[in-house]
Amino acid sequence: MAVEGRTPEPAQPAGFRAFWARYSPLFVPILAVITALIVGAVIIGITGGDWLAAYIGLWQGAFGSPRALANTVIRSTPYIICGLAVALAFKSGLFNIGAEGQLYAGAMCAVVIGTTLKLPPILHIPMGIVAGAVGGAAWAAIAGILKARTGAHEVINTIMLNYIALRLTDWLIRSRQPLLLGDPLDTSSSRTPFIAESMRLPNIRLGETTALHAGILMAIILVFLVAWFLNRTTIGFELRTSGTNPNAAKYAGISVPKTIVLAMVLSGSLAGLAGAGEVMGVRYAVSTDFISGVGFDAIAVALLARSNPIGILFSGLLWGALLTGARLMQVRAGISIDVIRIIQALIIMFIAADQIVRWMYRIPQRKPGEEVLISKGWGG
């Protein structure tokens, strides 16, 4: 804990200093992002690029036109929902690395419902959403039950379940003999059949050329739902309590194993919803190169927002914006899209090692109970 070089606090800091001492910890994530962008600019500069042109391109590519904005929002949606999944698990003291696999499980279940049933949209859309949630929940429940029953660490199990989900999806799509979930009409056998029109999410029109599927609405609703659930319901209280201090939870009459399973199920159902949303609003099928990596980036999204659901709305948007804007940045400044990946990695680094940011901006040390949640998950 000891950090050197801290000067003694002078007599009652006044004005800005007092304000900074009190509220600056809230800015750590924002400062981490800014710092990462600055370091990113330096990297671009060193490698001979024009960082200003790059960042202007990045901005315009993400927010410069209604079209760009819509793309950003669409791109962000799965990050927001999956970020919620990871955050809910964090708050319950669990490190769900398996959002990726749960997302695939949800997406595949949605595809099954979308390709086999014939229903009017009013029934078909809810069915698809439920199927996604159930698929993700079931996949996550395996890790939850293993942890509750045997104490097996969820990190290991969810990683393994990720592999299984990805490989299983691959096989289900590619297999021709027998034909499983692949599309017989697709010669490259790299995707499932498209889902029925009746299960596709309605579009929200923005002007002439731009459309936004209703997935973002679902994401926003989920943000508030999860925030409400965690902070305002008794079940949310049970999850948080078991996550923060399992001993005290036990003494308070809470069944910790039960809450572990429940937390994983809820987290998984959110990840599954993210997958179903992608299927129903964007791609209408699952392909072998489905949005891979979302489940992992969601961990960063959740960390950046310190597992605060409202914060995830913004960190998810940031993630989507960085990825969406990267294309125009590439065109404008001739810089590889990988720079965006580097910036994202830097953001994660500065969040995880927030001591650096705190030291740079003279932000007071963490108080007990304020530590970045990631360290809790490993405590097992």
């Binding site: 804990m1 000891a2 950090v3 050197e4 070089g5 801290r6 000067t7 003694p8 606090e9 007599a11 009652q12 009190r22 305002r232 319901t233 008794t234 079940i235 209280f237 309590t241 923060t244 201090n245 001993n247 005290a248 036990k250 003494y251 308070a252 009459g253 809470i254 069944s255 108080k367 007990p368 109970g369 304020e370």
Partner: protein, 517 residues
């Protein structure tokens, strides 16, 4: 040990220290001098600002005003690193050890970088053995912290400070968690330390200890120094009133109990501990409505496991437990609690409170799902807040508000809040394990009276305490536990303090009776 201190050098001096937290002035212009080789006892009510002052000296908090001098030179940077460098060590009220690591690893933790990246475990173990010999602090350097009892963990904390060459040692309520035996050992250690030139600041709520070891006594109230004295001039009563600002009755006034029907019936109970050893062995007893049964015994003789079993937190191997006529041997802790059982756990930090939660949430830790705190699954924040405010007022918990994190309360105030919470619901059975650990004399008086009051309302009360004084003050009947068995159940008054002490040490009842004569 009182010597003329005039000729001894001042090793540590604080001048005009002020520290404010949101809503409280924890230290208000406090000055203090510590002479070489002395024990300075720091007394004060819960929340008086003792730990805060010590944390400032140790560099954990920066002060808002005031200066600190070590051996005459100002301490400019406030960080533990700097304070350690200057020879200040601290043993905290709540230990700071890593349970999954060994003694050696814990001791060198944070100090290991100094060795050019090379961890010389053997040499470290050797030094730990030397320190432990020199100051009479027996401990196995290879043992895991998790396997050590509290007394041993505390010795590790002291060794940790000495390993860093501390000449000034701050001990924040070191005896609160110790058995009387261990506390005596600690007093001996303190004497050895001062004899070898170390200087100590000693915080405790046990006035007897203060009179026994201190050279000088300083009393804080509401963040200010309200008095300085020496053991020669003071008595327990004078110290108590100086601390609290009024006279304190150092014993409980209570009428004779009128026991009713049995509420808790334990029959031939056997319970294993975490290491699968039989911790509770064939224990039978009853607690009746309207009486207080005190379980006396040196800590670690099965009391913890017994209480856990009764609360449904640990399963029994054999035997039965009935509460209010209902068999709860296999019941969950939730079921037991819903029968009207309240439980003050012995380890408040681990089991009783969630440090990062506000008092509001902590106030409903067991009852969060019941009316009026929730309807269905939706919490009623207003009721939760009102409840916390109620607890704070009724038990005089010193806090700037109910929305602050529990961790910002002083140790004793956390305990008072837990006691308040457990008292706040209709009860049939109250199980209080170390209910006044870390609490100041004034509040002990208050809590003891509340326990007696519950008894008079017809609640069955089971008190487990390592303090024989507390057992004698509260109990109507006393059960002595030794090595997992109840070796005697007697009426309070039938045996002398000394006889009870013998029973706790494993002497049989018959022998104890004989030895008395």
């Amino acid at each position: 040990m009182t010597q003329n201190g005039q000729d001894r050098p001042v090793v540590l001096e604080a001048r005009g220290i002020t520290k404010r937290f949101p809503g409280v002035v924890a230290n208000d212009n406090v000055s203090l001098k510590l002479l070489q080789g002395e024990v300075l006892a720091l007394l004060g009510e819960n929340g008086a600002g003792k730990s805060t002052l010590m944390n400032i000296l140790y560099g954990l908090y920066g002060q808002d005003e005031g200066e600190i001098f070590v051996n005459g030179a100002p301490l400019r940077v406030s960080s533990p690193h700097e304070s350690i460098q200057r020879g200040i060590g601290m043993v905290h009220q709540h230990f700071q050890l890593v349970p999954v690591m060994t003694v050696t690893e814990n001791v060198i933790l944070g100090n290991e970088v100094m060795r050019r990246g090379l961890l010389d475990r053997r040499q470290a173990g050797q030094r730990i053995r030397e320190i432990s010999q020199q100051y009479g602090l027996p401990v196995d350097p290879e043992a895991l912290i998790a396997d050590l009892d509290v007394g041993a963990q505390q010795r590790v904390e002291i060794i940790k400070a000495l390993y860093r060459n501390a000449d000034i040692l701050i001990l924040d309520e070191p005896t609160a968690v110790l058995t009387p035996q261990e506390a005596d050992d600690l007093v001996r250690v303190m004497r050895t330390l001062t004899a070898q030139g170390k200087s100590l600041i000693f915080i405790t709520h046990k006035l007897r200890e203060v009179l026994e070891v201190a050279d000088r006594i300083m009393v804080l109230r509401g963040g200010r120094v309200v008095g300085e004295t020496t053991p020669a001039e003071a008595t327990e009563a004078s110290l108590a009133s100086l601390m609290v600002g009024r006279t304190v009755l150092l014993r409980v006034d209570k009428e004779v109990a009128r026991p009713g029907a049995p509420v808790l019936e334990v029959r031939n109970l056997q319970v294993r501990d975490d290491r699968q050893l039989m911790a509770v062995n064939d224990v039978s007893f009853e607690v009746h409505a309207g009486e207080i049964l005190g379980i006396a015994g040196v800590q670690g003789n099965g009391q913890t496991e017994l209480v856990q079993a009764v609360n449904g937190l640990r399963s029994a191997v054999a035997g039965s437990i009935r509460i209010a006529g209902q068999d709860v041997t296999l019941a969950s802790s939730r079921t037991v609690s819903e029968l009207g059982v309240a439980h003050i756990p012995e380890d408040r930090q681990r089991d009783g409170i969630i440090a990062s939660y506000p008092l509001t949430d902590n106030g409903v830790l067991e009852y969060y799902y019941r009316e009026p705190f929730a309807r269905g699954i939706v919490r009623n924040e207003q009721e939760v807040t009102k409840h916390a405010q109620d607890l704070v007022t009724r038990f005089d918990v010193r806090t700037p508000g109910v929305h602050v994190a529990a961790s910002s309360l002083s140790g004793g105030n956390q305990q008072k809040f837990i006691v308040a919470r457990e008292f706040s619901h209709p009860l049939k059975l109250l199980i209080a394990a170390q209910p006044t650990r870390g609490i100041d004399v004034g509040s002990i008086e208050f809590i003891h009276n509340q326990i007696v009051h519950k008894r008079d309302e017809g609640v069955a009360v089971l008190v487990v305490s390592a303090e024989l004084d507390e057992i004698l003050a509260l109990s109507d009947r006393i059960a002595v536990m030794y090595h997992g068995r109840i070796v005697a159940i007697v009426n309070n008054g039938d045996l002398s303090r000394a006889q009870l002490g013998l029973l706790m040490a494993g002497v049989s009842l018959k022998e104890a009776m004989v030895l008395q004569q």
